[in-house]
C-alpha cells in the first residue's frame, strides 16, 4: 500500500505535466503570445485567428487534471490505508494532500466559471510542488512521535489548513492572470476579462480566509490540549497568523479606489508568498535556526 501510494503520486506528476503543457498551449498559443506579452497592451483587443481557443487542447488539459486529481486521491487513500491515520502527518504526505486539494479547488473553479486559462498558472504551481515533494521529502512511513498523534483535532487542524492554503493558491493563479492581462486591460482575448479574474481571486480568498481562521483556531485548541496553551507565538503558528492578517489587509483594500484591480492583484501575489513561506520556510529554515539557537 505504501508503494502504491508512491506510484500513484508519480502518475499524478506525469498527468500534471501533461495538463501544464495542454493548458499552456491552450492559453498562450505559442510564440505570438510571447510577442504580445512583450508589447504594451492597447486597451482594445484584436482577435487574430491564433487567439481562438484550440478546444481539444483545453479538453486534454481538463482530462489530465481530473486524472491527476484521481491519482492523488488514490495516493492519499493508499497511504491512509497503510498508516491507519489521515495521510497528512509529514512533509511528503502534507504536500501530496496540498497538491490534491489545489487540484480539487481548481476543477471546481473550472466548472464554476467555465474558464480553463487559470490552469495555465495553477497547474505549473502544482507541478512544482509535486517535483519538490518527490525530490526532497522522504516518502517512507515512520511512526509519529506522541505529540503528533491525536484522534481528530490535530488531523482536522492540518486538513483544514491544507484546504485553506489550497483555496488561496487559486487566488494567486487568478491574480497572476490579472497582471498578465495588463492590469485592468484585456491583452489576451483568450484569458478571462479582468473583472472576472478579480472575482475569481476574491471568491477563492472568501473560501480560504475563513478556512484559515478555522484552521488556526483548531491549531490553538490542539495546542491547548497538547501543551496546555492556546497560543505560544511559535514560528509556525505566528507565520500562519501573519498570512491570515495579510489576506485581511487585502479584504480591506480591494474595494478602495486606487487599490482595485492591479494593486490588489500584486498584494495577492505577495500574500501567497506568505503562504509558501509558512508552508516550507518555517519548517525547513526558521525552525532550524531556532533549534540552532538552542531551543
Amino acid at each position: 500500500m505504501e508503494q502504491a501510494s508512491v506510484t500513484a503520486l508519480w502518475a499524478a506528476l506525469g498527468l500534471t505535466a501533461t495538463a501544464v503543457l495542454a493548458y499552456w498551449a491552450y492559453t498562450f498559443g505559442g510564440w505570438l503570445a510571447l510577442r504580445r506579452l512583450a508589447t504594451p497592451g492597447q486597451g482594445e483587443v484584436t482577435v487574430a485567428t491564433w487567439e481562438r481557443s484550440p478546444e481539444p487542447l483545453g479538453r486534454l488539459g481538463t482530462w489530465a487534471t481530473w486524472g491527476a486529481l484521481l491519482a492523488m486521491v488514490v495516493s492519499l487513500a493508499a497511504r491512509w490505508q497503510a498508516s491507519g491515520r489521515p495521510p497528512w502527518a509529514n512533509m511528503w504526505e502534507f504536500t501530496t494532500a496540498f497538491t490534491g486539494a489545489i487540484m480539487l479547488f481548481y476543477v471546481l473553479f473550472e466548472r464554476w466559471y467555465g474558464q480553463r486559462s487559470l490552469g495555465a498558472v495553477v497547474q505549473p504551481l502544482v507541478l512544482a510542488l509535486l517535483a519538490v515533494n518527490v525530490a526532497f521529502f522522504p516518502s517512507e512511513l515512520r511512526p509519529l512521535v506522541p505529540a503528533l498523534q491525536s484522534k481528530g483535532i490535530l488531523a482536522a487542524h492540518v486538513g483544514v489548513m491544507i484546504l485553506a492554503y489550497a483555496a488561496l493558491s487559486l487566488s494567486f493563479g487568478a491574480a497572476v492572470l490579472y497582471l498578465l492581462q495588463g492590469g485592468g486591460r484585456r491583452r489576451f482575448s483568450r484569458l478571462p476579462p479582468p473583472d472576472l479574474l478579480d472575482e475569481m481571486a476574491f471568491r477563492s480568498v472568501a473560501i480560504g480566509f475563513p478556512l484559515l481562521a478555522l484552521g488556526i483556531a483548531l491549531g490553538a485548541y490542539w495546542g491547548n490540549t497538547a501543551w496546555g496553551r492556546y497560543w505560544g507565538w511559535d514560528p509556525k503558528e505566528t507565520s500562519a497568523l501573519v498570512t491570515w492578517l495579510i489576506y485581511g489587509v487585502y479584504l480591506h483594500l480591494r474595494g478602495l479606489r486606487g487599490w482595485r484591480g492591479h494593486r490588489s492583484a500584486v498584494l495577492l501575489v505577495a500574500a501567497y508568498g506568505a503562504v509558501l513561506f509558512t508552508y516550507f520556510a518555517v519548517n525547513l529554515v526558521v525552525a532550524g535556526l531556532h533549534s540552532y539557537a538552542g531551543v
Binding site: 515512520r142 512521535v145 498523534q149 481562521a213 478555522l214 490553538a220 497560543w231 497568523l241 526558521v286 539557537a293
Partner: protein
C-alpha cells in the same frame, strides 16, 4: 451626491472637530489595513528573529546565557535588537500598544457601524433622487422598458424583498436582500477584538506547575500545602512505549487525584488528552523510565530505614564483555557496571580508570575501563596483579587468567549517585552509586520488572549498589542482600511521569470568539447583500445597486435585467 448608504443614515454623532475625524479614521478600511499590516509585519519579525524562549523568561541566568548565544550570532547588533525588544517581541510593550490599537479600532468600527446597519435593516431608504441613477458607482441602463412583473418575480426568486412605487408612466422599485447579513461584519470584527481580550484576560492569573512523580508516589499540587483546595496527585502507572529504533510511540499515565484524603478522580492522561478536575488540567508532560525502588532495613530492629524511588538520571559507560574458556564455551557475557574513575598509572602515564571486580568460574578478575585519547575505549583485564593484565580495545580479544576476553562494546547505563543513602554501620561515606543494567526503557511491563520483549536484552534488570560494601551488590527485582546489619532490597524498576498542572482558563471566551468569527466571516463573505433601486420609464430602465461583497455586480444585474426582457447598454456605468 450623497450615497443613500448606511453612512448617510447614521445619526449625527455629537463629536466635533479633530475627535470626529479621529473617530472616522479609526473606522476606515484604509486605517484597518494599516493597523493590520503593522501587526502582521511585527509578527513576521518575530518569526524571523530568534525569540527569548519561554524557559528562560524570568530566570536571569538562563536569560543571560541565551543572550550570550545571540551575541555570538549577531555581534554588536544583538545589543540593539535586545534593547528594542525585538528579541522578545511578543512581550514588548509596543507590541501590546499595536494590539491595543487594533482592538480599539475594531471596537470603534463595530460601534460606529451598528446604528447605520440597524437603520438599513429596519428603515431602508426606499427612494433615491433621479439624479442618483446617473451618478451611482454601480449603475446600469437599458434602452427599453423592463417588464416590471417579470422583474419582481425574478427578484423574489433571488430572495429579494421588493417594494413598488408606481407614478404615472414611471415605476420606481426598491429591492433588498439579506440586509441583516451586514451583522456578519460586526460579528467578525467583534470576534477579532474578543480574541485579543480573551488572550489578555487569560494570560493574567494562570496557575502552572510541573511535577515529576514516580509510580506509586504522590505529590501535592498547590504551593500552599495546607490549602483546603490542595490536591494530591498519585501516579499509579507511567508507561512509555518505543519502537526498536528508540522512537517514542506513546506515553501515558494512570493518575489518581485526592483531596482531603478522599479519592476524587481517577483517570488516564496521554500526550493529547489531559484530565480535568475542579478547573485544573493534568497534562502528560514528560516520561522517565529509569527509576529504581530501593528499601533498606535494619535487621537488628526489623525497621525499614529507607524506602525511595530513585531516578537514575545520569548515564555512565559500562563494558559489555564476553569470556570464553579454552574450548570456546562462553562462561560470562554481559554488561559490567564500573565504579567512579580513579587516577591510576597503568604504565602509560596517569589515566582515569573505572574499576570493577568480576567473578567468573570461581575466580575473581579485575576489570578497568578508560578512554584512551583519540583511540576509543580500553579495557584492562587482570587476574591478580593489575600490572600483569592485558588491555583490549573495542571489538578486540586477549587472553588473561586462562580465559579469552572480548570487549564487545561499551554501553551507557543509567546511574545516580545518591547522597544520604544508608550505609551499614561502620562503613565510611554517606553516598552510594546506583547503576542499572539490562534495563528496558519504556515497555508496558518494565515496571513489573518482568522479562521484557526487547531484542538484545537477556532478562530482568539488575541494580548495582556501589559503595555499600567492598564488592558491588547486584540485585534482581525483589532480591535482597544483607551487608552487616542492613538488608538492601531492589523492590523493582519504576517509571516516572512528568505531570503538568494548569488551571483551566476562560476557554469559553475563546470558543465564543471562534464561533462568532466563523459565523461573521461566512455571513459577510458568502451572503451577498444587495440593495437596488430602479426607475422603469416607458422607453428606458435605470438601475443603481449597492452590495457587498462587491464582486460580479454588473454581470449579476445584467442577468436580472435580461430576465425582465431588457438588455443593458454596454456602457451603462462604472463597474465594480
Amino acid at each position: 451626491m450623497a450615497l443613500p448608504s448606511a453612512k448617510s443614515a447614521r445619526p449625527a454623532l455629537s463629536l466635533t472637530g479633530p475627535l470626529r475625524t479621529l473617530w472616522w479614521l479609526l473606522q476606515s478600511p484604509r486605517w484597518a489595513a494599516v493597523v493590520t499590516g503593522v501587526v502582521a509585519l511585527v509578527a513576521l519579525l518575530g518569526v524571523l528573529l530568534p525569540q527569548l524562549p519561554f524557559w528562560a523568561r524570568g530566570d536571569p541566568a538562563a536569560e543571560a546565557a541565551w543572550l550570550a548565544q545571540q551575541r555570538e550570532r549577531f555581534g554588536p547588533a544583538a545589543e540593539w535588537l535586545w534593547r528594542l525588544g525585538l528579541l522578545d517581541l511578543f512581550h514588548a510593550p509596543w507590541f501590546a500598544v499595536a494590539l491595543g490599537l487594533l482592538v480599539t479600532s475594531t471596537v470603534a468600527y463595530v460601534v460606529g457601524r451598528l446604528p447605520g446597519i440597524w437603520a438599513g435593516i429596519v428603515r431602508p431608504r426606499l427612494r433615491v433622487p433621479d439624479s442618483y441613477f446617473d451618478t451611482a458607482p454601480h449603475r446600469l441602463r437599458a434602452a427599453a422598458a423592463a417588464d416590471v412583473d417579470a422583474l419582481e418575480r425574478a427578484l423574489r426568486r433571488s430572495l429579494y424583498r421588493v417594494v413598488r412605487f408606481p407614478e404615472g408612466a414611471v415605476t420606481y422599485l426598491f429591492a433588498d436582500r439579506f440586509p441583516w447579513a451586514a451583522f456578519g461584519t460586526l460579528l467578525g470584527h467583534g470576534a477579532v477584538a474578543l480574541f485579543v481580550i480573551a488572550a489578555a484576560v487569560g494570560s493574567a492569573g494562570t496557575f502552572d506547575t510541573a511535577l515529576l512523580v514516580a509510580e506509586g508516589q504522590s505529590r501535592p499540587v498547590l504551593p500552599t500545602v495546607a490549602s483546603p483546595r490542595q490536591m494530591l496527585v498519585k501516579v499509579e502507572d507511567a508507561t512509555g512505549r518505543f519502537d526498536p529504533q528508540g522512537t517514542p510511540l506513546d506515553y501515558r499515565t494512570q493518575l489518581v487525584i485526592y483531596r482531603q484524603g478522599e479519592e476524587v478522580k481517577r483517570c488516564q492522561v496521554t500526550v493529547n488528552s489531559p484530565c480535568s478536575y475542579d478547573g485544573y488540567r493534568f497534562y502528560q508532560a514528560a516520561y522517565f523510565g529509569y527509576g529504581a525502588e530501593v528499601q533498606v532495613r535494619d535487621m537488628r530492629s526489623g525497621d525499614v530505614l529507607y524506602r525511595e524511588t530513585l531516578a537514575l538520571e545520569f548515564q555512565r559507560p559500562a563494558p559489555f564483555v564476553r569470556a570464553r574458556d579454552a574450548s570456546g564455551n562462553v562462561l560470562f557475557e554481559g554488561t559490567v557496571p564500573v565504579g567512579e574513575p580513579l587516577r591510576l598509572d597503568l604504565g602509560q602515564g596517569p589515566t582515569d580508570v573505572s574499576l570493577a571486580y568480576l567473578m567468573v568460574g570461581g575466580h575473581s578478575y579485575l576489570l578497568g575501563l578508560w578512554q584512551a585519547p583519540d583511540q576509543g575505549p580500553r579495557l584492562l583485564v587482570a587476574s591478580g596483579d593489575p600490572s600483569g593484565g592485558v588491555v583490549i580495545g573495542e571489538g578486540g580479544r586477549a587472553a588473561a587468567g586462562g580465559l579469552e576476553w572480548e570487549l564487545v562494546r561499551v554501553d551507557q547505563v543509567p546511574a545516580a549517585r545518591v547522597t544520604g543513602f544508608p550505609l551499614p554501620p561502620g562503613r565510611e561515606g554517606d553516598s552510594a552509586l546506583l547503576q542499572m543494567t539490562d534495563v528496558a526503557y519504556g515497555t508496558a511491563n518494565a515496571s513489573e520488572g518482568g522479562r521484557v520483549p526487547v531484542a538484545g536484552l537477556p532478562g530482568m534488570p539488575t541494580l548495582y549498589l556501589l559503595g555499600v560494601s567492598e564488592r558491588p551488590l547486584a540485585l534482581r527485582p525483589g532480591q535482597s542482600a544483607q551487608v552487616g546489619d542492613y538488608e538492601y532490597t531492589f523492590v523493582g524498576q519504576r517509571e516516572f511521569a512528568g505531570i503538568q498542572v494548569r488551571r483551566d482558563r476562560s476557554d469559553t471566551l475563546v470558543w465564543v470568539a471562534t464561533g462568532l468569527l466563523m459565523a461573521g466571516l461566512l455571513m459577510a463573505l458568502w451572503l451577498p447583500r444587495r440593495r437596488l433601486w430602479m426607475r422603469i420609464g416607458p422607453t428606458e430602465t435605470k438601475l443603481a445597486v449597492q452590495g457587498w461583497p462587491e464582486v460580479g455586480l454588473r454581470r449579476e444585474m445584467e442577468r436580472l435585467l435580461a430576465r425582465a426582457g431588457v438588455r443593458a447598454d454596454s456602457r451603462g456605468g462604472e463597474d465594480a
